[in-house]
């Protein structure tokens, strides 16, 4: 059969389609985002962006209770947000099967931490599957849904950056229509103490049954090769182990919780030296050791970052597979190419202003987190989505002298995700922090997904748009204004006034992401005669402006024509190409 090249995320989407999934929800987050973006193409699946991961999972729970097969997707930290429903969904069990896709990010390619989501499986006492390539990513969705329905439990499908964003060949199948299961009212879904107690007993029994299933599950398999070395591994580590130690025997786990303890014992008995290779926490290792099996893992492998083939070969055989072609040359260090706010990014002027006003900036997560980097260096904190506003309130409560000096900065998508509650708390508890909502009309960081403010759904359909300014007023903020961040003077005045208002205030900095704004605003040039090379414009950190020996230059291919630099120049040395000198 002809196979097609799919990323892990495309394959998961295809798996949902083939397995008869009827409902899917997610909040975007690298590296999980493309799961829903690809599911959106299947008209058989009712799929949407939820406002956050907790809401997404709760919708999935409802769809399951109503009898449908469902899929919910998120990045690893998203599962923290969805942890509350997860813990109790484990008790209620399902009606239609549910698979919860969680994408971890060992190495933190694009995340604020590298937590190991496998711990949630043990915490919630639900099974966890882990695919090792795109074919398995697709197939495991179906297996997860079958386990879900058979054992009356949600199932976690754990991916990682190297699975989600790697492409490999996949054999496709047709969609299998799975009919809705009938809905019947049951106290099994009403988790109050009296009804929850018997459910907890069921959860413990289920874990035992799943452990027995794991022993025979086809997703767990022993590959006997040379018996001197045996390695237990799953997911991307399986591929890296095969690459590093092609002759070693391997116990490949497709199901990482609960573990097939007897199978592991048999494997251990068949090899001379037993290793476990797993990224991040010693999740498998601790359980294997607790079963009294001697195994080597984190004594030689790190709990931090990814584990690549060279490291595996080096730690187990004593020599890496390959070595760098040339040693790093200390005389010519390679300049990093860090991500930056784009030329014309509407967030730039806000950070420029906050820096000049010497504000303490309680930050949040999105493209705008780049405002923490040189030369803007305007952001003081970044913790988790939504933390800006609540931590900002904490600043002034913890140290009253900081009242009026703290500003919370949050993107539009992040505000909807988990900023609204913090803002309500500022009002409720007599805070006075200024909140700047960077409304660039999209969820830019993760690749421009729609959100409740954009008026469009995942499937590209028009829908009601929630307006941020009236929403803030409804939450009780009396001082709310909208500002165009390209207008530096008005922005500065607004920030100055609102920061010392002594009551909750909101500035909505509203201007579409420059990558979405297709209008041609021309570009700007430096007038070499007027430019004194004072470098005031360099403070903006715009990649289009370069300092040369004889003054500044603007790269016309990069300039987006936002005109913010014009307002920063005291010498009137920047003008529109082909236009008159401005102001």
């Amino acid at each position: 059969m002809k196979r097609v090249l799919l990323s892990g995320n495309e394959a998961i989407a295809r798996g949902a389609y083939e397995a008869g999934v009827r409902f899917a929800a997610a909040y975007p987050g690298t590296p999980s985002t493309e799961v829903l973006e690809n599911i959106a193409a299947y008209k058989e699946i009712d799929a949407h962006w939820a406002i956050n991961e907790k809401v997404a999972l709760e919708e999935g729970i409802g769809a399951s209770f109503a009898g449908a097969r469902g899929l919910v997707a998120m990045k690893h930290v998203g599962l923290n947000v969805a942890a509350d429903p997860l813990m109790t969904f484990s008790y209620t069990g399902v009606n239609g099967g549910v698979v919860i896709v969680v994408a971890d990010d060992p190495g933190m390619h694009s995340s604020q931490n590298e937590q190991d989501s496998r711990q949630y499986a043990r915490f919630a006492k639900v099974p966890l599957l882990e695919p090792a390539d795109s074919q398995e990513a697709k197939d495991f969705v179906k297996i997860a849904l079958e386990i879900s329905e058979e054992y009356d439990t949600p199932v976690i499908l754990r991916s990682s950056t190297r699975i989600s964003h790697a492409q490999s060949l996949v054999a496709l199948a047709e969609r299998e229509e799975v009919s809705l299961r009938p809905y019947e009212k049951s106290t099994k879904r009403v988790m109050m103490p009296a009804f929850a107690r018997p459910r907890h007993v069921k959860v413990e029994e289920r874990l035992g049954l799943l452990g027995r299933y794991a022993e025979k599950a086809p997703v767990n398999r022993i590959e006997w090769r040379d018996r001197k070395t045996g390695v237990i591994c799953a997911g991307i580590c399986y591929q890296n182990v095969r690459e590093a130690l092609p002759d070693a025997s391997v116990l490949k786990l497709g199901m990482c919780y609960p573990l097939p303890v007897q199978l592991i014992r048999d494997f251990a008995a068949g090899v001379d030296r037993l290793y476990v290779v797993e990224e991040l926490d010693p999740f498998l290792e601790e359980q294997i050791k607790a079963a009294g099996i001697d195994i080597c893992g984190k004594e030689i492998f790190p709990t931090v970052g990814e584990i690549h083939p060279n490291l595996i070969a080096e730690k187990i055989t004593g020599r890496p597979l390959t070595a760098p072609l040339i040693a790093a040359d200390p005389e010519t260090p390679v300049p990093a190419r860090p991500p930056v706010l784009c030329p014309g990014c509407p967030h730039r002027s806000v950070f420029y202003t906050l820096k000049r006003e010497k504000m303490v900036v309680s930050g949040d997560i999105g493209c705008y987190t780049l405002g923490a980097l040189s030369p803007l260096e305007a952001i003081d904190t970044c913790i988790c989505m939504g933390a800006s506003i609540s931590a900002g309130l904490g600043f002034e409560k913890g140290n009253p002298e900081m009242r009026g000096k703290v500003v919370s900065v949050i993107g539009d998508s992040t505000f909807f995700h988990s900023g609204m509650t913090g803002l309500a708390d500022v009002v409720y508890n007599g805070g006075s922090t200024l909140t700047v909502i960077l409304d660039n009309r999209t969820t830019a960081m993760t690749g421009h997904q729609d959100n409740p403010g954009t008026g469009r759904t995942l499937k590209g359909e028009y829908t009601a748009a929630i307006e941020i300014a009236p929403l803030c007023r409804a939450l009780g903020v009396k001082r709310v204004r909208e500002v165009d961040p390209y207008d530096l003077k008005t922005l500065r005045e607004a920030i100055r006034e609102e920061a010392k208002a002594g009551e909750p205030s909101v500035i909505v900095s509203r201007r579409a992401c420059v990558l979405l704004d297709k209008s041609d605003k021309g570009y700007y040039e430096i007038n070499g005669e007027k430019c004194t090379a004072c470098k005031a414009c360099m403070v903006l950190g715009c990649p289009a402006i370069t300092a040369g020996e004889s003054g500044m230059t603007i790269d016309p291919s990069l300039c987006a024509g936002c005109g913010v630099c014009v307002q920063v120049c005291k010498f009137n040395a920047i003008k529109k190409a082909g236009g008159e000198d401005e102001k």
Binding site: L169, N310, P324, R337, P339, V340, G447
Partner: protein
């Protein structure tokens, strides 16, 4: 016995590295190899380093390429060629553009753009550390062919000479992937690269 080939492609966001990997994937698939591609979508949309690993052959396990492992490197920018050079295996092939795109630490004057990249790579090529070095002004080639955005396609053309697939496979891949209105310019750019070192 080595049973696969590793190609590392590096550039700057917006240079078409992802398109290049799709083209190669199309060609490789047409010849029925096992294939894995790994992309790192960095933090931001623009301006950061972009890196893609393409591995193909009879059997491919890890989608990763590690230092000293790449049989080929295609670099769409000179500094990126230098950055990823340690990933080339001894005797491997480097195809790189002479184009310079300054990263922000250089723009802001915090760091210098290394001046002697080409000289150093040439010296490494002379002593055989780099097996073959093809440095081309890909941007100029693409501009001459009427599509400056297709510079990376010119590099694919240069690389194609060293890979075990016929020219027609690449032209078929272009036809399948590039929008019709840009196809002619892309084909011309590819062939200009393909013939660059043979004319």
């Amino acid at each position: 016995m080595k049973n696969n080939t590793s190609i590392l492609m590096g550039g700057v966001g917006g240079q078409g590295i992802v398109l290049a990997s799709r083209l190669l994937a199309h060609v490789i698939q047409a010849h029925n190899h096992e294939l894995k591609i790994s992309e790192i979508h960095g933090m931001a949309q623009r301006g950061g380093s972009v890196i893609t690993y393409v591995r193909f052959g009879r059997e491919v396990f890890s989608p990763l390429i590690e230092p000293g492992q790449a049989d080929y490197i295609l670099a769409a920018e000179k500094l990126e060629a230098w950055r990823w050079l340690p990933y080339l295996r001894r005797g491997g092939t480097m195809v790189c553009s002479t184009q310079e795109i300054k990263p922000v630490p250089v723009i802001t004057g915090k760091q210098e753009y290394p001046k002697t990249i080409m000289e150093k790579m040439q010296a490494l090529a002379e002593e055989g550390t780099i097996g073959r070095l093809y440095a081309v002004n890909a941007l100029e080639i693409a501009e001459k062919c009427g599509q400056p955005k297709a510079a990376t396609v010119a590099l694919i053309g240069v690389l194609a000479r060293s890979l075990p697939f016929p020219c027609e496979s690449y032209l078929a891949a272009l036809k399948a992937i590039v929008p019709t209105r840009h196809l002619a310019a892309n084909e011309k750019t590819f062939l200009a690269g393909y013939n660059y070192f043979t004319e």
